[in-house]
Amino acid sequence: MRFRLAQPALARLLQVTSRIVPARSPLPITSGVLLRAEAGWLEVTATDLEMSATLGLPATVEEGGEAVLPARFLSDLVRRAPATDLELSTQEEALAVRLAWPDADFVIQGMSPDEFPRPAAFPEEGPAATLRGRDLARVVRRTFFAASQDQARPILTGILLEIAPGRITALATDGFRIARQEVVQESSAEEGEQEEGAAAIGGLVVPARSLDVLAGLGEAEDEIRLASDGNRLHARGNAFHFQASLLQGRYPQVLELLPSRFVASWQLGREELLAACERVSLLGAGREQAPLRLQFGDGRLVVAADAPELGRAREELPPLEEGEPMEIAFNPRFWMEGLKVLEGERVQVEMSGPLSAARLRDPEDGSFFYIVMPMRTAG
């Protein structure tokens, strides 16, 4: 293997792929990245066994071949190299690779490419869907935070993806709140052919972490093709191929059990509300047991918290639209993460009781909602 590539391009490739490289792994080879040069094209692959990403770039390839080099080291070295053409070539010594630019010469001991776990091929048969990179990124980014981190219920560490022609929905819940984002693709259906390959891919549960990586990889892509072989989600763009193991199991039907009607609906300035909540909840920082108490009524919202030994806090906010009175309390983190992920000026807070789910949404944007369970505070 021998190829040349400009430093900035190679640095970016390595930086993106090394995000996947696990900090520690039962399989040492996965601490490396696989370089594969072939006919004017270089591919870099990294995997943590749950997902893998392959990124490609045009390169001046003099001799095709493969090598596995330590990911962190290679990435660090290339990032610090001068912005010039870098040449990488395999050496006589087993598995060693020479990285050189004018005035510099590094020989790096590599690992055996035969041991590197190869990603499965993109399933050309079966249902597939095409969507824009930024739409995929959006649904992932707006639900990612609500996925569970508790390995006790692995299925909840994933994001539920429903892909239908012209529409993608993501839903995540950790059992205490739900975030759901839908994106309707701007119609590209004028080109009748595209509809042909577009199929519904329903009920994929993809680890949130994997989807986060995918969102980063594909954000800039105009078109990402998604497919599933039942065990993995595959995504392919112009210059990358990504795959992630799916979480197996039945995703709970969380939306079915929610109140169909909310009795109290208030509208508030989102940023003011968030700022007030952040100040008030500072009191219990680091202690989630200090719930944030909200009292809606009398033409105002009172946000309050008290933490034994620390003190008490209270702020008042005028609503933009008033609803039925309600007293309710939330885990401050769950509550504020919802306010943060919303983007509009206003937030609609809908409640049906101090112990029933509340809903947050942007009154001007129906594509997203956030459901959060209150906390019981006493009695």
Binding site: A152, R153, G175, F176, N331
Partner: protein, 589 residues
């Protein structure tokens, strides 16, 4: 056989048996007499484990020559005049039986010289013979010589144990009194060899050092409290910090008004105070002196006065418990401000010393402030300041650990950290599971019942069989107090609707709490046991790999704990390797 009055001599021998059972009883009676005489020095000399000879000398106020013969008469005492005096009694003895009892079963000689007298007098007593009095040259004080114990009671004599065993019992008596009277210098000699010697400088810590070594003495915390109110209970002593325990209760000792005593309710108070701070089957080291008005204590329960009763048993129990919790930095408040005299650290202690707050807490706060980080909750400051005052000795006391900077994770279980600044900088090992378990335990403990209940967006099904159903019905109040809410969803399942806020793996845990054997005991006790169980399940496990951020987060929440030094089962959560420790290991000094 007709009934007849026993000859006086026989009656005395029988009565003596109640008081004098073995050499140790003689030692006890004589030492108490010496203490009652205001002695500053007490020397106990034994031969053949006390079976051949016991001699107790003191520098007390002595006995006037004309009173000497009275001293050995039964029910003759200088300590009491009227029955009512019993209620004001401050002396250890009062029945006037001791010397008479000894005289009844041994050869007794008493030499005594009051300070104002020019010479001493010796009184020799043989059972059944009139006492003989003669002058003797001696220093002021009293010396009592007891020989051939039970020479006239062969049955007793036959029951004496080996010299070694009897010696041990005598030693125990002297030690107990030395502890009860740190201001008196005690010396115990066996066949001319000194076995025990206390300085008598009023420092209990020095007594402990003399009895059980300086390492133990140096590790104990000082406790000093005066309970306000009618009880007027003064409490002082030394107690082991959380995590330092013994396999037996031998070092749980109480004295009441200078008298070593046994009292179940004191013992219970102690064990309760240390619950969750010591591993199972470990016991604290506890040397507690109680002082309270004589009226509050009944010492006349048992001939040996070893057992006492309190008039307000519950109040004493409660006061002792609360004081101990405070001293241990427990939930009942800030640690007491008590300066402690420091005992030299035993050099060459290779073992990594378990720490109880190695750093001047004031410095730690300053360091945190300097770093501009607010990771330590504000609540740490007052406690830390209080601790700072007494932390001058570097030995440190109560309080919380310094802010620790994680360096690495060892065996997937221990966090290697740097803590402290400057001189106090040291290496720490934190057991990630124990530390996190402590955090969760306190968090569950702090939340009021019914609070911190987190309802779920969708109920979780928990399969129910008949055993589980019975368990659910029986344990429901306990589970609800922990924060679980569930309802029956048909014949074979339960819907879990809410869980304790912040819990991991709540579903499986809930099922386990139904399946496992239920803890016994009182409500509070059961709740505590289950909190510990929930904490154990929720905490980061040993072997869980932790990223640096997760390590830092764990350390931050742990350091906000009130009792950070042990997990709820009492295992240590952190070990410090101090600068001095390292210097020793590298032979730098």
């Amino acid at each position: 056989m007709s009934i007849r009055r026993l000859p006086r001599e026989v009656a005395e021998r029988i009565a003596a048996g109640e008081v004098i059972e073995r050499p140790a009883s003689v030692v006890k009676e004589l030492v108490e007499n010496a203490l009652d005489a205001g002695a500053r020095r007490v020397v106990v000399e034994l031969e053949d484990g006390g079976r051949a000879a016991i001699r107790v000398s003191d520098d007390g106020r002595g006995i006037a020559p004309e009173e000497l013969p009275l001293a050995v008469e039964r029910y003759a005492t200088s300590k009491l005049e009227r029955f009512e005096d019993l209620e004001r009694l401050r002396t250890l003895g009062f029945r006037g039986e001791a010397l008479a009892s000894v005289a009844a079963v041994a050869l007794l000689s008493i030499e005594s010289r009051p300070p104002q007298a020019e010479a001493g007098r010796r009184l020799r007593v043989r059972a059944g013979e009139p006492p003989a009095l003669e002058p003797v040259a001696m220093a002021p004080g009293t010396r009592v010589d007891v020989r051939d114990l039970f020479h006239n009671v062969p049955a007793r004599r036959a029951h004496l144990r080996s010299a070694r065993a009897e010696l041990l019992a005598c030693e125990e008596v002297v030690a107990a009194h030395a502890l009860a009277h740190p201001g008196v210098a005690f010396r115990l000699l066996h066949e001319g060899r000194a076995l025990l010697e206390t300085p008598g400088d009023g420092e209990m810590r020095h007594v402990v050092a003399a009895l059980w070594g300086e390492e133990l003495a140096g590790s104990l915390r000082e406790l000093r409290e005066e309970a306000p109110g009618p009880l007027a209970l003064k409490l002082s002593g030394l107690v082991s910090p959380p995590g330092l325990g013994r396999a037996s209760r031998v070092l749980e000792r109480f004295t009441v008004n200078g008298r070593p005593v046994e009292n179940l309710s004191l013992r219970m108070a102690a064990e309760e105070a240390y619950r969750n701070l010591l591993p199972a089957h470990r016991h604290p080291v506890l040397l507690l002196a109680l002082e309270l008005p004589p009226l509050e204590v009944d010492v006349n329960v048992h001939p040996t006065k070893r057992v006492v009763r309190f008039l307000h048993e519950r109040a004493v129990h409660g006061t002792v418990y609360a004081a101990l919790r405070r001293a241990l930095g427990g939930a009942e408040g800030a640690p007491p401000a008590a300066a402690s005299s420091r005992v030299r650290e035993t050099p060459g202690a290779w073992a990594w010393r378990q720490v109880y707050a190695p750093l001047d807490a004031g410095e730690a706060v300053a360091a945190v402030a300097a770093a501009g980080e607010a990771e330590r909750p504000a609540v740490a400051t007052p406690a830390a300041n209080a601790a700072g005052k007494e932390g001058e000795e570097g030995e440190g006391d109560e309080g919380r650990p310094p802010r620790l900077r994680p360096l690495a994770q060892l065996h997937g279980t221990y966090l290697l950290c740097l803590g402290g600044v400057g001189e106090a900088e040291s290496l720490w090992l934190v057991d990630q599971h124990a530390a996190d378990e402590r955090y969760w335990f306190e968090r569950l403990e702090q939340q009021a019942e019914g609070e911190g209940v987190q309802p779920l967006v969708a109920p979780l099904p928990v399969p129910l069989d008949s055993r589980r159903r019975a368990a659910w019905e029986a344990r429901r109040p306990l589970l609800e107090a922990l924060g679980f809410r569930a309802e029956e969803g048909g014949p074979s399942s339960l819907w879990l609707r809410a869980i304790p806020a912040g819990l991991r793996g709540a579903e499986a845990l809930f099922a386990d709490l139904l399946d496992e054997e239920a803890p016994g005991g009182a409500w509070e006790e059961r709740l505590r046991a289950w909190r510990a169980r929930v904490a154990c399940r929720t905490a980061v496990r040993a072997g869980d790999p932790l990223e640096p951020e997760a390590q830092a987060a764990l350390l931050a929440r742990w350091s906000s704990c009130r009792q950070p030094w042990t997990c709820p089962h009492g295992r240590p959560a952190a070990v410090e390797i101090s600068r001095a420790e390292l210097a020793r290991r590298f032979l730098r000094r």
